[in-house]
Symmetry: C2
Subunit: 586 residues, 2 copies
């Protein structure tokens, strides 16, 4: 940051003029919880002094902003977020979240790391460096998430983690998702953690439903935080073990009523911060970022100043950021002017003393440069529609197939059920079964792996839907009735360099281009959200309304204790083992 | 510490037996503020697990201790202490404070650094390493305290600070006492702070009565804490600026009523910790260490669990010690069993899972080894009594002398007053004035500097008193009626290698030997306190009861805005300049 302490001291002493004074504000002091009238003096991007009523500046600042009696609070700190989930590259993510008052984020580039490895992490860092948002990175600890059951584009061991930890702006090891491995003495996880601890890094945790001895083992291993709590009891137990709690409300999960109840059980909140984890472009555009979680926490009865403290100072302390999270002498001048302490959009946002947003509009100076993204969808080895067929050796007219069957109304929880399906010309044929569709998962990282399976009640009425966003390895997932539609869709994904796509009657009717690693758009939040909306409409012309829009994206998620499909085969996630597509034939 | 995380994880999971279980306790959870029944499992010196009611151990521990329903709390952390003030060397300090529940201290070896420089700091570290107490060291920032007005045994600039910061167990830069220099842009202080920040060190503050723009400048410069507050307003203002507040009750200062009032003004206490600063051996023996400050805070109305949190977790977080300050998985097993949450002596104390004290008795395994201290009292260049005379050139029978005159009942606040005094054989003679005594300050660090002055109403009735403990340069200070008595005392100080001494009727009648740098005893706390008590009685046979026992020790304290005497001359501390002993003659 290039802090010139001499000038800062001189400015605080009134010996030299400041760059900026913000007057006529209700200053929210996150250290003490007090709110009082004050004036904030800034020089070289840092706060020099917060003058209380009656203290006059010795020399007028170059710029004086009238706060019009609004509240001045620090910029928000997101303690755990995957930028890729917004489908925006870091610089566009920056422009999207800053108008909502977020000024610093701690990101886990886990998704791009699974596609591009260390180069992906470097891309995120490099692109983030063009933005005004302070973007800190944590080294993804679980690449791939579950080795052996799928093939991603990279594999991180202790060496890669060490290499990443040595990069600028890298501040820790990202969520230790393999908590089972940690508790059971996984050598790989153990070495990754040791590497992190050796380098003095913060170890971020991820322990859904973890309690009792497993939680103790996980904490003792070094995991310092958790953002997965869904109940008041979980919050309480994790706080008792000394974990930092990152209160989360994402596009995928929001249990704030329970979380708020947990927080209210405990008088001390200094180990509680705020995170978003995964927020889609559309949600960013319509309802915000950290401010949305703040709003939600306040609506659930938590005290506004306390929640603001969590979203600022507590988050910064969790990471040991000594210059962030407060508006106080020596702190970075990252701050926002808000009409009310309720998580609504700020009137104005500053980062390092520069105005970066006014009334919801980003006004920072950084401009996007065209980026030449390498195409990461390496699936040209699929020659044509015939490669997407589910083929059977031999002359049989019928085959027993392990069909994936949802066990509730949605299609996330599912089991395998053996069904006899007709075979024509050596291919399983679904023409007679409207409730079935093919699922094909194709490796896009350079291996010639693919799996074709059958899914019951996915909700596909015709055509095909597919994506290159598919946790955690981000291989291509296509769901289709006819192989030709599936192939048409694959070719479009290749052409776009990745994305989301819908094919109806042989035509592409909806798509979102995600050329950055097949995960992120090149466009702004508005553009990405707009494209996504068009895609959504096309999706629901070929799928029933009950089908979750992101069904394809979690088709391969081996961390789920369900039946999933990876490029390597059909997987029972609960048992962490393969099951055959054709039972009894392999 | 050599933490074996694999074994820790296995112990938490119940796969291997623990070394120690403490059962039947009321567990005080400093993270949540809750108190509940629990059992604590320890392995390899770390806590593996805290089992709540109903959770059984899978395997019994090697040792099981019955807590008899007492409270289990973490060991106390002292966030600012000068070990030398106890007159004990670090290993004996350790044995003295552990039975009171202190398990970690952050020390400023400022006193010994002024005598022995970096070698002094190394001695403190080396000797501390023999002890069970976790002793962290901060690099003394103001050696000498006020350059130019006195000659100490060392001078620390950025290079020395850097060298110390690179040593093991050194965790920061110690109290930036030259706050005036910091605010006024002192190049020396600036460079010392930059060196600390460059090495990621914690910068400890010291800002008595600092407020307004000076406080902002001091905070912006990087000073993170303060332990000098004496009023509720100071506490509040410093907390508002984001400073860590170290609540202090020392042998010299106790303003806990005011401090507690300040704490009660603010709802958040996570930036508040506890320190002792200076505690004498006698006080350590009779009333304790951090527990005494805890007791005092509770007596002044603060909530017990909250104060215990300050004395443990908050202090550890202030320094970024991630394994200290709590009894929780992965934390060092530093803990104490107490009958009540009131700061009274613990029933039992553990450090790294080993019992180190039981009912006030130290039971650790470390034993003192004889130490060969180098004699630091280099005053043999004072040939005899004649060198302690206040001599006047020329034949005058009378001389105008700047006499030091206390302005209140004590002798700390004082001014200079010109008085005509008789001269006999070229020496100022005090025979006719019972209210006067000579003060001589003699450099003991290798320079042939000395100053003889006259003090009114010191309270010396006869003989001489003197010391090698004399802040901040620790030169020899002797107060005497007759030069012969002064010289007798000096020779005894030389013989002892430093200490405190009383001479009456030509005989040494009281003394405390402080062979470690002329500051610390070689004996235990009991021995040092016993010697000191004998000295005290001898002191009050030659001095009036109003004379503070430590008058000599602050005779040279140039930081006081009073008239003081250093080896270089008579000094007006308020103006930070010399004044002549004989006005008009120099």
């Amino acid at each position: 940051m290039g802090k010139n302490r001499k000038r800062l001291i001189q400015a605080a002493m009134g010996e030299i003029p400041c760059d900026l004074t913000i007057r006529n504000i209700q200053y929210v002091n996150v250290f003490t919880g007090e709110i009082y009238p004050a004036q904030v003096d800034v020089i070289d991007g840092y706060v020099a002094r917060v003058r209380e009523a009656g203290e006059e500046a010795e020399q007028p600042a170059a710029e004086i902003v009238d706060g019009e009696g609004n509240y001045l609070i620090p910029g928000f700190v997101d303690t755990h977020v995957h930028v890729e989930s917004s489908m925006l590259i870091p610089e566009n993510f920056s422009r999207a979240v800053i108008p909502w008052g977020t000024t610093a984020v701690c990101t886990d580039p886990h998704e791009i790391a699974n596609v591009l490895g260390i180069d992906g992490v470097k891309f995120m860092l490099e692109n983030a460096s063009r933005s005004a948002l302070r973007q800190y990175v944590l080294a993804p600890s679980c690449v791939p998430a579950v080795p052996g059951l799928e093939c991603s584009g990279a594999e991180f061991g202790e060496e890669e983690i060490g290499e990443i930890l040595d990069m600028d702006h890298v501040v820790g090891v990202a969520e230790l998702m393999d908590y089972v491995g940690v508790c059971r003495g996984s050598e790989r996880m153990y070495r990754i953690m040791e590497k992190g601890l050796e380098k003095g890094a913060y170890l971020q945790g991820h322990g859904p439903l973890l309690g009792g001895r497993e939680l103790s083992a996980y904490r003792a291993a070094g995991a310092e935080s958790d953002h997965e709590s869904e109940t008041a009891e979980e919050i309480q137990e994790k706080l008792r073990r000394g974990m930092h709690i990152n209160l989360r409300a994402s596009s995928l999960a929001n249990h704030m009523d329970q979380l708020a109840a947990g927080v209210r059980r405990i008088p001390y909140h200094d180990f509680i911060s705020i995170c978003t984890d995964d927020v889609h472009a559309g949600d960013l555009l319509s309802s915000g970022h950290i401010n949305r979680v703040v709003r939600c926490a306040i609506e659930n009865g938590l005290e506004p100043v306390d929640v603001i403290r969590m979203a600022t100072l507590n988050g910064a302390r969790e990471y040991g950021f000594k210059e962030l999270g407060a508006v106080a002498p020596g702190y970075a001048a990252d701050m926002q002017l808000v009409r009310a302490l309720d998580g609504s959009q700020p009137e104005r946002v500053w980062i390092a003393g520069k105005t970066v947003a006014v009334k919801g509009q980003y006004v920072g100076e950084d401009e996007g440069q065209p980026i030449d993204f390498p195409n990461t969808v390496k699936t040209s080895w699929i020659a044509g529609a015939e490669d997407l067929a589910l083929t059977v050796d031999g002359p049989e007219r019928e085959a027993a197939v392990n069909v994936i069957v949802p066990v509730d109304g949605g299609n996330i929880f599912r089991r395998a059920e053996v069904q006899k399906l007709p075979v024509r010309d050596g291919r399983v044929c679904l023409d007679s079964r409207e409730d079935l569709a093919f699922v094909c998962v194709i490796n896009r990282h350079g291996r010639r792996n693919k799996t074709v399976a059958v899914f019951q009640n996915f909700g596909l009425k015709k055509g095909a839907v597919g994506t290159t966003v598919s946790h955690d390895s981000h291989n291509v997932v296509i769901v289709y009735k006819k192989e030709e539609d599936g192939c048409r869709l694959l070719r479009e994904l290749e052409r776009m360099g990745g994305g989301l796509c819908v094919v109806e009657d042989g035509q592409v009717t909806g798509k979102v281009a995600l050329p950055a690693a097949g995960l992120m758009s090149a466009g702004s939040c508005q553009e990405a959200a707009g494209e996504f909306e068009t895609y959504r409409r096309a999706f629901y012309r070929v799928c029933r309304p009950e089908t979750p829009l992101l069904s394809c994206a979690i088709m391969s998620l081996t961390a789920l204790p369900e039946i999933v499909v990876t490029d390597c085969g059909l997987v029972d996630g609960g048992r962490q083992e393969f099951i055959p597509v054709f039972p009894g034939r392999e």
